[in-house]
Symmetry: none
Subunit: 196 residues, 2 copies
DNA sequence: GCATATTTGTCCGTATGTATA
DNA sequence: CTATACATACGGACAAATATG
């Protein structure tokens, strides 16, 4: 029962700004994005509520918020689960290993690109986008083939930015995003029977 | 306070099938559809909960469901309100000479247009955009000149949409947005020394 | 299939914070 | 500024559904 508690206690001190339910949602959202709560995990009211020091009622409110964000799914009398994009989650074999880390790094790269714009609105928007993207990454069959090519391109863009060549960076990024879109669509078309 | 209770007691007997929150939602939904709760009405947790014989926690769950259906809107620490349809509301404000109200209604209209796309992410993004837009409205010297012309155009777009003429609606909206951009820029250029 | 333990669903009472007259 | 009404959040309780042995 206590396995999923580890690490959550650290977030306790962070509580204190807006609505409790929303603050709890923020915490859980990042935990999910990090992969700390993998897709399919049931989120226990009792253990999480206890770990975060909030009442069950408040926690359930957070669950509802995240359910509306489509990050969680709710089953009557069974609780809430981290959304699973794949039909067979079991296919996610034990050692796709390091390439998942590459996917995470790619997400972080883009998060920081977005942050360069300096817009809190955009950051907030992209936070949810990346959280969902992270879920999508869990279902690709060949993460290496998907993620590896981007390492070099990330480096290119970064170099252009650091060298002050903003137009070049923008151009590289635009092509990058177009390619990504194509590939994501490809990957999705290859999978049938998805509930998405 | 007890005015909104009348008639709700009859629904008490209907409780008893699926999830309590959903049953309460059904009841409130029909009450709203009947016009029993007119747009803009605040729904009190205490009185409604008491009238239906459900606890506030359960009632809040119902409110969340209906908010997700976009039948209600939630304001922090103020409660939930029956959604106000924008075009009608704008006309009413215009009749009363409330030009700021017309501006608000215009914003609502566009929020609902955006909502038609069915993307929660976009909704969230635009929510912030509209909030800032409202702030910008506070600094215009002649709100009537700015807002009034849009009432008729909103009605046009709505009519096109309801009549299934999607291309026409899209065309109208595109021209609308171009005009708006020009006018907002005009208004802003007339004011110097603004920090934004 | 059965009995038990666990977990969710629902409710209450209350204390605190927040908005408004 | 005060008072009032209300939303927010808490903890405890019990019934009902589910999971487990």
């Amino acid at each position: 029962m206590a396995e999923q508690l580890t690490g959550l206690a650290d977030d306790r001190a962070l509580l204190g700004r807006t609505s409790t339910a929303e603050r709890v949602s923020d915490i859980l959202r990042s935990r999910i994005a990090e992969g700390y709560f993998p897709p399919g995990t049931r989120l226990s009211e009792d253990s999480i509520g206890g770990a975060l020091g909030v009442s069950r009622n408040t926690l359930r409110e957070s669950f509802r918020l995240l359910t509306h964000e489509r990050l969680l799914v709710h089953e009557l009398n069974r609780g809430v689960f981290v959304r699973v994009l794949a039909v067979e989650d079991g296919r996610r074999s034990a050692r796709e290993g390091d390439w998942k880390g590459v996917g995470t790094a790619n997400i972080h790269f883009h998060r920081e690109l977005v942050a360069l714009a300096g817009s809190e609105r955009t950051d907030e928007l992209m936070r949810s986008v990346f959280a969902e993207l992270r879920l999508a990454f869990h279902v690709v069959d060949d993460p290496r083939r998907l993620h590896e090519p981007y390492i070099a391109r990330n480096a290119e863009i970064l170099a252009a930015l650091e060298g002050g060549e903003r137009e070049k960076a923008a151009r590289l990024l635009a092509v990058y995003l177009e390619d990504s879109l194509k590939r994501v669509v490809e990957v999705y078309l290859r999978r049938v029977g998805d509930e998405g």
